[in-house]
Amino acid sequence: MHLRSLTLPLSIVAVLALLAIPFFPQWIYLVFVMKTLCFVLFACAFNLLLGHTGILSFGHAAFFGSGAYIAGHLVKNYGVPFELGILAGGLVAALLGAVIGALAIRRSGIYLAMITLAMSQLVYFFYLQAPFTGAEDGLQRVPRGTFLGVIDLRNDTALYYVVLGIVAVGLWVVWRTVNSPFGQVLRAIREHEPRAISLGYPVARYKILVFTLSAGLSGIAGALKAIIFQLAALYDVHWHTSGDVILMTLLGGMNTVFGPAVGAAIVAALNHYLDPFGAWVTVITGVVFMACVLAFRQGVVGELGRLLKLRRPSRPEQTADQPARGESQP
């Protein structure tokens, strides 16, 4: 109950803060916030699979990177407008997600993770060799273009509000999916797959559908990143990115809807602000991650939610528990 009552004011504060960011350029750098927003959408989309369906995909970089390359290629070489480029990036990623998902869900657990990793490596080598990607030099100089043909996106502030809007829609889709009958079926699959089958749900179809949705949203996140930085690079499809998104999700809390968003912000901030430490940055990130895994098993948001729940409403439960234990002892 208390968590619920806190959620609304907290989200209002968050939204106001996000809207106000462009007015304080001396405090926080706008392009960094946009990059973080892309990872926020990516991590929340990924968590549809990991947190809400219980599927660990170790190949999500394939979707993120495909979105980036397809959007970048279309916008740069075919003069496709910004919005269509983003949509195409998402669509191609979703198609790829449907194909890889259909193959991968034939197995589960570690085998599924290995299949997705293998498939994403295939995709990686495709982009390494394809002539339009520029291999390790990247697909450079993607024009930002205009939004709806009116707003010039070369202006960082304008682009920021557009990105914020698109990411907000993406996050709404994630939230709506989780809080829908469809989302409940997903949780049923996560908790007890045989029971979900016995209840008559076509589990495989549900899994492919959520895989496609997650991949499509990841593709949109990647496409946005390509437009923001005006380039798509191999790192976006590299398995490191697949690892990064798992790290973000675990750090934020995989049993929450927007926990991965917080995780994404933490990882992005660590990478950004620890820069002056040079070679030490990877060591510091590793230690922070170890500390988080040891101290907050449910992720930052998950742990926060648990603390808030423990505070008041649980007290009567505890007192009610004790006599029960006392009774069973003798």
Binding site: E136, D137, G138, Q230, L231, P276, G278, A279
Partner: protein, 409 residues
């Protein structure tokens, strides 16, 4: 946020070299935010951290100190950042530096992907960028800009230096061991063109993925090709592994390996036993003359290592930029760009060097042979000069450049 320096030792952290006590109050006209700020964007933690990295930052600091720490009474500041070999990280850091932190010039830019991305940002924001350790000739072709300078070497000069000289020496059949990346393939193609033009033959190529450790099958392919020269179109760890394999399989004494981009540090790690007889193209060698020895010994004292050509280029290009700022009397990018292209570069690194309109710094390149262990008389006495390639021959002729600045557009 500013990528300020971490506090290590008092000597290292004295970044703002405001030697003139009153300089802060003298608001000189023409200097943006009363400081000339140089950002060193390099690889601090990845595969190129050894060949540029912290030592590159140190080279730039040395140049600033030798310059006197201030120009027209305005202090010069050095900051650094890590691009982690990711074009997006590099581009966003560069953007932030130009937009928020008042950085006037970015130096080093190891990794071609990062260099191209930062060149695009520099062109858009109209600030300076100088690349010393990237090889991609796109920087002076499609991506050229009045604010971008490609200083030490490029893929074209590597191909000219090594390819042409070796063919003229009689090594006219070639086989390539190429890293399967845009860098390796580009280098292989350029050297092949040069070899064919000079009347040589290319017998074939074996392509290996990045970070290959087992070169046995590639070494055998090279052996089976029967080519006299085995061109190694990779760098760093891959090149080291390839050279080791060629030596272990007994390929190398009879068929001669030519490393197309080997850094001085790579020879240190290979050791003379393995590396002897290798031909390498480097724009700088610490023991070349009095000037380079003087710089290198001071560099060695500060970093514990001998400088390679990128470090020397970092120093020389920073010095040249500061000279241009002094001559222009402002840090206005357009005025500085004009002066940079006008002034000649004469120091331990280059003699009569100059910057072409497309940003290419033209200076002599050298082909070196690695000495045998018994020829080496003192520490780091590794190389013998084989040939000097004049700047005009070493770099891409202006008429071949696709740079848009050249045809009035």
């Amino acid at each position: 946020m500013l990528a300020k320096l971490p506090s290590r030792t008092a000597a290292l952290t004295s970044v703002v070299l405001a030697l003139g006590a009153a300089s802060g109050t003298m608001a000189s006209n023409g200097f943006s935010d009363d400081v000339v700020r140089i950002g060193v964007l390099t690889d601090m933690s990845g595969i190129y951290s050894d060949l540029s990295g912290e030592a590159a930052v140190e080279a730039v600091r040395m140049a600033v100190e030798d310059f006197g720490g201030e120009v027209h009474g305005v202090p010069i500041e050095v900051i650094y950042g890590d691009h982690r070999n990711r074009a997006d990280t590099g581009a966003s850091r560069a953007r932030e530096w130009y937009d928020n932190d008042g950085v006037d010039m970015i130096n080093d830019l190891s990794n071609s992907g990062v260099a191209l991305a930062v060149a695009a940002v520099a062109d858009e924001r109209q600030r300076h960028a100088i690349s010393n350790s990237a090889s991609n000739i796109g920087l002076t072709n499609d991506y050229c800009s009045p604010y971008v300078t490609h200083y030490t070497y490029d893929a074209y000069s590597l191909a000219q230096g090594t390819g042409k000289t070796i063919v003229e020496d009689g090594g006219d059949t070639w086989f390539f061991l190429t890293v399967d990346f845009a860098f390796g393939i580009g280098l292989e193609q350029q050297v092949s063109d040069v070899v064919r033009e000079a009347g040589g033959h290319v017998m074939g190529a074996a392509r290996h993925p990045l970070d290959t450790t087992d070169f046995s099958s590639y070494a055998l392919q090279a052996q089976a090709s029967g080519a006299e020269i085995i061109g190694i179109a990779s760098t760093g760890a891959d090149a080291i592994n390839a050279i080791n394999a060629l030596s272990e399989f007994g390929v190398s004494p009879s068929q001669r390996p030519a490393a197309l981009l080997l850094w001085f540090d790579d020879i240190v790690s290979l050791g003379l036993d393995t590396a002897q007889g290798l031909l390498i193209n480097n724009a700088f060698y610490w023991d070349a003359d009095e000037g380079s020895r003087e710089f290198s010994e001071r560099f060695y004292e500060r970093t514990g290592r001998m400088p390679n050509m990128a470090h020397a280029g970092n120093y020389s290009s920073t010095m040249h930029y500061l000279n241009a700022v002094e001559a222009a009397g402002t840090d206005d990018p357009d005025a500085v760009s004009e002066k940079m292209r006008e002034l000649e570069i004469n120091d331990f690194f280059a003699t009569g060097g100059y910057i072409r309109p497309n940003g290419r710094m033209v200076h002599d390149q050298y082909l070196w042979e690695v000495k045998a262990p018994d020829e080496s008389e003192y520490d780091y006495d590794f190389l013998r000069l084989v040939a000097t390639i004049s700047g005009e021959d070493a770099f891409q002729p202006l008429e071949d450049s696709t740079c848009h600045l050249l045809n009035g557009g």
